[in-house]
């Protein structure tokens, strides 16, 4: 009786999925399992429920930079995971972790298996300066540093040497500020977060006292947002010291500015000119108008040579930094390079702009049956809100194209069945969402023992082993 019942429910889900106006089910594949993937899926299942969406993610675990980027002391931001989990559990959606697009499967194979492929695999590499000394030890990209404290498997063995008092961070965006905050926060604050134990142990022995946050241009061009600045200014046992001379003429500009630049500049000016530094054992020092020329040191970095700049141009948005010819060096035993992420071309079939480091697309349309969303599509800028909005737009365009028969649902597509048999033949163990939840439970358990919300597992082999106890992914849904 009970069996009959559940069968009939299954059947009715199927009927619902195949019998409305469009008689065919749209078989869609999303590559990458970060916010862009889940928001695109969320939008499509809402506006075109007659679909099957498979999310293929390289790592055994979902959520992309929400797990591996967002700072451990910002747990609230990660609440989006609850919505993503709901999406992942919709009858139309299946998650397949541990699938490396471009290696395990090609774009051509995905195009053959699905009506449309939506690329959302993010921006996973970083930009470099290409200046002398950049290969010295302890010059690390902020991306790796973030991956290290957040438990990204590929960065688990990063060697971070915190034995020097001074750290230079090159770049003035939110990622740079996140890195600075991790280096300057009282350890007891970090202990309560899901920061990895290996990072915590290294930070416990840290000798770092001063973190310089260095930008090419001036206070009017900083890229961090006001929330991140306010957090630095309010940080316990840390004072923020600015170079007053670089604020000349800026208070006069404020009345004519618009939000958000207006409020950000007000806070900068207030902190730079009006407040006296509080007594503290650590210092946060934003520096302006400096471009790195070279790094010094024998095997390990000991300092950075800068060119001092001046600004050229009228409107501050378009002012460029030009060299004054004056040089300056700053001693530093650790340098973090935080000048942006960039995407890679994961498959030769993708129209890709190497210069900009992103997929060539118009509002998420890449090629016939190929779409993109998120940082891969827009470049690595903005917050989850902007990624969400971009993903909704791509989702809406996919649905438009289905409705207008640009994506032809009459074409028979095998979907996940074909993909799983290929992966099977290639010896790739896939991780289902249920498998991820097993990993999640284990991480939470380990965290609890340490008084933390979670202790991330950083070893892929171990993740796969734990995931094995979860339900296997099957093409039946």
């Amino acid at each position: 009786m009970i069996r009959y019942c559940s069968l009939s429910i299954q059947r009715s889900v199927r009927t619902f999925m195949t019998s409305s106006t469009q008689s065919q089910v749209a078989k869609l594949c999303i590559v990458g399992g970060g916010p862009a993937a889940f928001y695109t899926a969320q939008h499509i299942i809402k506006t075109f429920p007659e679909c099957e969406i498979d999310i293929l993610e390289r790592l055994p675990v979902p959520f992309g930079l929400v797990r591996f980027g967002v700072a451990p002391d910002h747990p609230e931001v990660k609440n989006v995971i609850n919505t993503f989990t709901k999406t992942a559990k919709s009858p139309q959606v299946r998650f397949a972790g541990n699938v490396n697009f471009g290696i395990d499967l090609s774009l051509q194979e995905l195009k053959e298996a699905y009506h449309a492929v939506i690329l959302t695999y993010g921006a996973e590499e970083d930009k470099t300066f290409g200046i002398p000394g950049e290969n010295l030890k302890n010059i690390i990209s902020a991306r790796e540093f973030v991956g290290w404290y957040n438990g990204l498997p590929r960065d688990k063995d990063l060697n971070v040497d915190l034995s020097d008092e001074n750290v230079v961070i090159l770049g003035q965006g939110n990622v740079a500020v996140d890195a600075a905050r991790m280096l300057l926060s009282p350890l007891d604050e970090l202990r309560k977060t899901d920061i990895t134990e290996h990072a915590l142990a290294t930070l416990a022995d840290s000798k770092v006292k001063t973190v310089y946050l260095v930008g090419r241009r001036g206070p009017m061009q900083v890229a961090f947002t006001i929330k991140e600045l306010r957090e630095m200014i309010n940080l316990k046992d840390c004072s923020s010291i600015f170079e007053k001379e670089h604020f000349q003429g800026i208070p006069e500009l404020i009345p004519n500015l618009v939000r958000p630049r207006k409020r950000l500049t007000e806070l900068l000016v207030k902190s730079a000119l009006e407040t006296n530094p509080k007594p503290s054992s650590k210092t946060f020092r934003p520096l302006f108008l400096r471009s790195p020329l070279s790094f010094t040191g024998d095997s390990k970095v000991t300092g950075v040579e800068f060119d001092l700049n001046t600004l050229q141009g009228e409107e501050f948005e378009h002012q460029t930094a030009i060299s004054t010819g004056v040089k300056e060096s700053i001693k530093s035993g650790l340098v973090l390079r935080s000048i942006g992420y960039r995407s890679v071309c994961a498959d030769p079939g993708i129209p890709f702009d190497k210069q900009k480091g992103r997929v060539i697309n118009t509002k998420g349309r890449v090629d016939h049956g190929v779409y993109s969303a998120g940082w891969l599509s827009t470049g690595p800028v903005g917050v989850i809100l902007s990624t969400m909005s971009n993903a909704f737009e791509t989702g809406a365009n996919v649905v438009d194209d289905i409705r207008q028969d640009i994506i032809n649902l009459n074409e028979k597509k095998p979907g996940l069945r074909a993909i799983l048999s290929k992966l099977d033949a290639r010896g790739v163990q896939t991780v289902s969402f249920d498998g991820w939840e097993k990993i999640d439970q284990e991480e939470t358990k380990r965290g609890k023992a340490l008084g933390k919300p979670r202790e991330k597992i950083v070893n892929i082999g171990e993740m796969l082993q734990i995931a094995e106890s979860g339900k296997k992914l099957t093409a039946k849904g």
Binding site: H43, K46, N79, V80, R263, L385, F392
Partner: protein
């Protein structure tokens, strides 16, 4: 600060209701029996008006969640003041009537919202009072793509 953390907890508990057992989350500041219904209308970018109601003391995010109002992406951080997806636009006089002025932290998050106006607030920070009965708020279009509805 403590209050906003508490609020965060409350709305988190409430959104769990979607998955788990129904469970009421009370505002601690008011006795139970006094709570009255407050009518609220959300106007989507498409022009569609959704009339609904909440209880005194509920935040506008609570109202959206408790009534299952379909606003894409609304309340992503679950009321913890870290996302600005709960951005709402008020009429000038309603805006002026709101009992609590925005904190710096709310303004910081609002700065990241799309279509920011002079009468914008974050829905998770606005608590209903009887005075707000009949409130009408606009939901900006970027969150709720006009073309999709």
């Amino acid at each position: 600060m403590a209050q906003s953390a508490l609020r965060g907890l409350c709305s988190r508990a409430q959104s769990f209701r979607l998955f788990v057992v129904p469970q009421r989350c009370h505002s601690l500041s008011r006795p139970l029996f006094k709570k009255e219904d407050v009518e609220v209308t959300f106007i989507k970018a498409s022009g569609e008006a959704i009339k609904t109601k909440g209880k005194e003391g509920d935040s506008l995010l609570d109202v959206v969640v408790n009534n299952n109002i379909d606003l894409d992406g609304f309340g992503a951080c679950e009321g913890t003041l870290t996302c600005s997806t709960c951005h709402l636009i008020f009429k000038q006089n309603d805006f002026d009537e709101l009992p609590e002025k925005p904190t710096d932290e709310e303004l910081d998050m609002l700065d990241l919202a799309y279509e920011l106006t002079e009468t914008s607030r974050l829905g998770c920070q606005i608590n209903l009072s009887k005075k707000l009965n009949g409130l009408e708020v606009k939901v900006p279009s970027t969150i709720n793509d006009a073309r999709s509805s």
